[in-house]
């Protein structure tokens, strides 16, 4: 019995010793889950910015992917620790408002990135407009299929802000092309395997599909695998500009991917947090311009995020 207790203690302390706290400014970063590469890019962004600015970031991720109660608990726990500032992606843009209010009440400055929270006070919001990205990348595909033909939409997690807006963009783009027919719009939960199976089923219902609009890259890849599996051809677009997507663009399997740049959002979010702490002026909103990555312009995205430099706020705002 005793040895058990001891070993348990040992194990725990071992884990913790790895994460001794730096005494400089600390910034707590909240992301939705540990599995989606997008949020990894965000985390890398914050780390990179932190390194250059000489601050310490601590990552908080729900152990259950996208768990609302858990992120809320984590916020409550973090408030106990009083970090100097917080960079916050709400798991759900409505359900986490109480969390933000708690942060406000604790007087900790908080920067909101990626999903715009439905309430609470923020130093600033950093994000990209899902709608316009969806719109422009969809336009890219529709022109590629010559403004006519059949397309399907793969939606993300039902009700998530990201999915809703991107899909809205897709639909508006389709409306612009009267000769394009939307065959179906089904959720695949931002997941590859789901997308693969949904796509397989859609291909059964529809003998001819010319274009696939996927609300993120993993789903786009899933769709591509499904098409290959059935030896069918269709143009596919995704969103996120992930490493994988860029490689597929290079190899011509993926037409284009909307650049929803987690890395930059992480960078800027952290930079604003630090400037705010150092009483420097900060913009209260930074929106990334919608960029469509395709064969013509993928080279800058072909470097792994870890090696990319953080752009300054000015660079982003100016161009």
């Amino acid at each position: 019995m005793k040895y058990l207790v001891i070993s348990l203690t040992a194990v725990l302390t071992a884990i913790f010793s790895g994460s001794a706290l730096a005494d400089g400014e600390t910034i707590a970063v909240f992301t939705k889950n540990q599995t989606n590469p997008y949020f990894q890019a965000v985390r890398v962004g914050t780390e990179t910015a932190a390194k250059t600015l000489g601050v310490k970031v601590i990552q908080y991720v729900p152990t259950k992917p996208d768990s609302i109660p858990e992120q809320l608990s984590q916020v409550e726990d973090v408030i106990v620790k009083k970090p100097n500032s917080i960079v916050f992606i709400p798991v759900d843009y409505k359900a986490l408002v109480p969390a933000v209010e708690k942060i406000n009440a604790a007087g900790i400055p908080v920067i909101n990135i990626t999903d715009r929270s439905a309430g609470g006070n923020f130093v600033a919001f950093v994000g990209a407009d899902d709608y316009s990205i969806g719109l422009s990348v969809a336009r890219r595909l529709l022109t590629a299929i010559g403004g006519k033909g059949n397309v399907v939409i793969l939606e993300g997690v039902k009700g998530s802000l990201t999915s809703t807006n991107r899909v809205r963009g897709f639909n508006d783009a389709i409306k612009e092309n009267p000769n394009v027919k939307l065959l179906a719009s089904q959720p695949a939960n931002f997941q590859r395997l789901n997308a693969l199976q949904v796509m397989e089923n859609l291909m059964q219902s529809f003998p001819s599909i010319d274009g696939v609009l996927a609300a993120n890259d993993p789903m786009a890849v899933g769709a591509i695998e499904a098409l290959d599996g059935a030896n069918r051809k269709a143009l596919v677009i995704g969103i996120n500009g992930s490493k994988e997507a860029v490689e597929l663009i290079k190899s011509g399997k993926l037409l284009a991917s909307g650049d929803f740049n987690g890395f930059i959002q992480g960078c800027i979010g952290t930079q604003i947090a630090v400037r705010n702490l150092r009483k420097q002026p900060t913009p209260n909103e930074v929106m990334l311009k919608p960029v469509v990555i395709d064969k013509t312009n993928f080279t800058p995205y072909d470097v792994p995020v870890e090696q990319r430099p953080c752009p300054t706020i000015e660079q982003i705002v100016s161009n």
Binding site: M1, L4, Q34, Q59, Y60, V61, I68, S73, K158, G159
Partner: protein
């Protein structure tokens, strides 16, 4: 109070230490390694966070004591909280909304009970089925969206304090007390022990086993309804994924608490400790900024270590 509240009958000696040891060790480790841990503010924080899980773990203990299981409890909580939110948003009456949530809990509890007691479908399967049903309904009602616009009056239930103690803690304490009395000082409780220990004993004593089983699951459903109130108040909204997987957290807490899955051998206080242990672990790891991946592993370790210790004790 009877003199034998904690007679051997109510307290499986061989199992006490498992959870207690783990809890002590955790507190010791966190107390030493993290400055913020042992503060009143943080303790309150941990307890408040644990309330919802406790509200589910209490009935889960009772259900497991009857050699049953309720996998639907998390999904029922979710659906109840959605119904609550929708009702309050549409009618504007918190009372009505709360009753609606309880009604949902009641219906699912009754459904589970009838399927198990009357149709003889094993609890695991019954509640796996109703889990799917509740989840589906939640998605259908909300179409995946979260329901917002809850009046402050409801949110207050979670944020308000009485005599400096947060309301949720008081509610949870009340729930614990009620369950304790139910289990150790009413016929219901006595028969729960019998349901798990020897159903024939009930039959020859002229007590309807079916009726008792149904009551047990109804109790589970109602507690899920109460939990839904807290959950909605906490999130100040209702969301179709809010309660996913909580049934397993609850079961784990009960198991960690030393309630065994056979012969009606249960220990309510152990469940309380189990729930707190889980809360302490998560909180402490967050305070120490342990990477999330390590946190996930730790939770698994907690469950296994606690039961391992119990196992070792049991062999003596």
């Amino acid at each position: 109070m009877s003199p034998r509240v904690f007679s051997l009958a109510t307290l499986p000696i061989a199992r006490v230490p498992g959870v207690a040891i783990v809890l002590v060790v955790l507190c010791a480790v966190f107390g030493l390694t993290s400055s913020g841990f042992a503060t009143p503010a943080n303790i309150t924080n941990i307890l408040t966070q644990s309330t919802i899980l406790l509200l589910l773990a209490l009935p889960m203990t009772v259900i497991i004591m009857t050699e049953g299981l309720d996998l639907s409890i998390g999904a029922v909580l979710t659906f109840a909280s959605i119904v609550l939110a929708v009702t309050v948003v549409t009618t504007g009456s918190p009372t009505l909304a709360f009753l609606a949530a309880l009604a949902v809990g009641l219906c699912f509890g009754l459904g589970n009970g009838v399927l198990i007691a009357v149709f003889d479908i094993p609890p695991f399967i019954t509640t796996l089925g109703t889990l799917g049903i509740a989840q589906g309904l939640s998605l259908l009602v909300t179409d995946g969206q979260s329901v917002v616009g809850i009046p402050r009056s409801i949110e207050a239930i979670y944020s308000a304090t009485a005599a400096g103690i947060p309301l949720p803690i008081i509610i949870a304490a009340l729930a614990y007390f009620v369950t304790h009395v139910l289990l150790y000082h009413t016929r219901f409780g006595t028969y729960v022990f019998a349901l798990g220990g020897n159903r024939e004993a009930l039959r020859v004593a002229g007590i309807s086993v079916r009726g008792m089983l149904i009551r047990v699951y109804v109790f589970g459903g109602l507690m899920a309804g109460f939990a839904a109130l807290l959950m909605t108040a906490r999130l100040n909204s209702a969301h179709p994924t809010a309660g996913i997987g909580m049934e397993f957290d609850a079961i784990a807490a009960v198991a960690v608490g030393g309630t065994s899955f056979e012969r009606g051998n249960g220990w309510l206080l152990g469940t309380l400790l189990g729930v707190i242990a889980v809360g302490v672990l998560r909180n402490g790891l967050n305070l120490l900024a342990v990477p999330s991946s390590a946190q996930v592993a730790c939770i698994g370790a907690l469950v296994i270590v606690a039961l391992f210790i119990d196992g070792m004790r049991a062999e003596r």
